[in-house]
């Protein structure tokens, strides 16, 4: 069965197509051109057909290909024109919004108790406001658990409404701050007030960040030394962390050589964080300075197991 046999009679008589094998290209849609000679005069003789329904994809000769391309361009241009014209006249672009409209021509006054008499022009509206395009105010919510970057349990926080709706409320991390909910959380809220050194959301974030730090501690290679708190403070300051020396806890055994160390930092006198570091030598003669190999990255390492 030749592919020509599948072409409807109306098209086949005047269609010059060059049909190929069944295992034809991957295009599923293609153009059938009815009468190439007429192409220059009108572009309306182009038809799109699905290959499964009618026949197999075809390849055109180079000359005919060119004219077919021109025809297809014309056809698509005319289609686009028609489509754009339709859209503009029918207003198919709908606004999905809480729209507030107003009558362009107000309704005539009517007697009390009777219905207003509306004319066609009373249905001409103009848009006063799109409510959804206005920014939504934030919402106050009561946190039931610690949420990083937002707050701790028992705190009333003012957050974006979409955050509350999409993340916090469905997960049960926050509730509406009703009187009942506040009564339920009263114990935690009172404890929060009483405790001076409680961990705020930022303190908790700092703890997490410090747990992933790997310090670089450069020490003198020319002189003898014993590691003390000032060395650690300076090394931390070089990493961008400012701490007081009271917060630092050194290893129990005195350190005098380059090695891996674990140092304790107390945050708000409430939580101890273990921070790792590598001690290495630096010399007065800079050409002798060698950084230890295979150093872990500075930040975002997996935290130390306490």
């Amino acid at each position: 069965m030749t592919p020509h046999a599948q072409i409807p009679a109306a098209f086949s008589s005047r269609t010059r197509l060059f049909c190929q094998s069944k295992n034809a290209p991957f295009c599923t849609w293609r153009l059938i051109i009815n009468g190439f000679n007429n192409l220059r005069r009108s572009s309306s003789n182009c038809y799109f057909y699905h290959y499964k329904r009618r026949f197999y994809p075809v390849q055109l000769k180079p000359q005919t290909m060119q004219s077919a391309l021109i025809a297809s361009r014309r056809a698509s241009a005319s289609l686009l024109e028609a489509a754009s014209a339709c859209v503009s006249c029918l207003h198919l672009t709908q606004t999905r919004n809480t729209v507030i409209v107003e009558r362009k021509y107000p309704v005539n006054l009517h007697n009390k108790g009777s219905h207003p008499r509306l004319k066609a022009k009373n249905y001409i509206y103009k848009v006063v406001d799109y409510k959804n395009s206005r920014p939504v105010p934030n919402i106050d919510c009561l946190l039931t658990d610690y949420v990083e970057g937002i707050g701790v349990a028992g705190e009333i926080v003012n957050v974006k409404r979409r955050l509350f709706r999409n993340r916090l409320y469905p997960a049960g991390l926050a509730v509406y701050p009703t009187e009942e909910a506040l009564e339920d959380m009263a114990e935690i809220r009172e404890a929060m007030k009483a405790e001076d050194n409680r961990l705020s959301q930022y303190a908790k974030m700092t703890v997490r960040q410090l747990a992933g730090l790997h310090m670089r501690i450069p020490m003198s290679g020319d002189n003898l030394w014993v590691l003390n708190k000032t060395h650690i403070r300076v090394a931390l300051r070089k990493m961008g962390v400012e701490v007081k020396e009271d917060c630092i806890t050194l290893p129990t055994e005195p350190v005098t050589e380059p090695q891996e160390v674990e140092i304790g930092l107390s945050i708000n006198n409430a939580v101890d964080v273990k921070v790792r570091g590598t001690i290495y030598h630096i010399f007065k003669d800079r050409s002798r300075n060698v950084l230890p190999e295979n150093l872990p990255k500075v930040w975002k390492n997996p935290p130390v197991d306490n």
Partner: protein, 203 residues
Amino acid sequence: MSHLPRFSKLKSAAYSYVWSRDVEHLLPQHYKDRCIKFMTREPPAVHWQPISGRWKIDPKSGQRIPVQNVPIRVIYPEESNKGLWGGEGIIQGLLKKKPQTRRLPKLWMPYLQKRALYSEILDKWFAITVTLRTLDQIDEANGFDHYILKTDERDLNSKLAMDMKREMLLTLVRGTMYSDDTDKKQKIHNRYKEYMIPVSMFR
């Protein structure tokens, strides 16, 4: 023949109550009262802004003219009964950009989203088509259950909402929620007991 006030086309709702004179004596009085209240209540002005006051000054002539607020006609398709549109609907109107141009038909559609909403009384999650106005109202009412139980039927304007209201009230009255957890059950009972109505009202 209907024995109820009918909606005018400017004050339509998603559904209406109609019954004939033959069956009227079969219906309980509280049901009829509720239906008449629903049919006669003023709908909320969602898509238009009513002018307050009895009089206003005409800007052209400077004369005092009475204010007669005529609502915008809103269409509630059958789909609005399957979601919670919060009083929003489709506005079918005309648009005339310039005096010289023709007036052209225009539809304004509500912005609908499918959202997961949790009911505490039923202890279930529901995927419901809502508008942003509904979500705002839920926030205002401090929760989905409060919104459904507190809001007037005319403002809910959805069969789905009334079905849920019925389910919630029945669960509250029968006390079938949280059968395992007595503390939670008591808590939920105390939270929503103000909305409870006697069981005889359901028949």
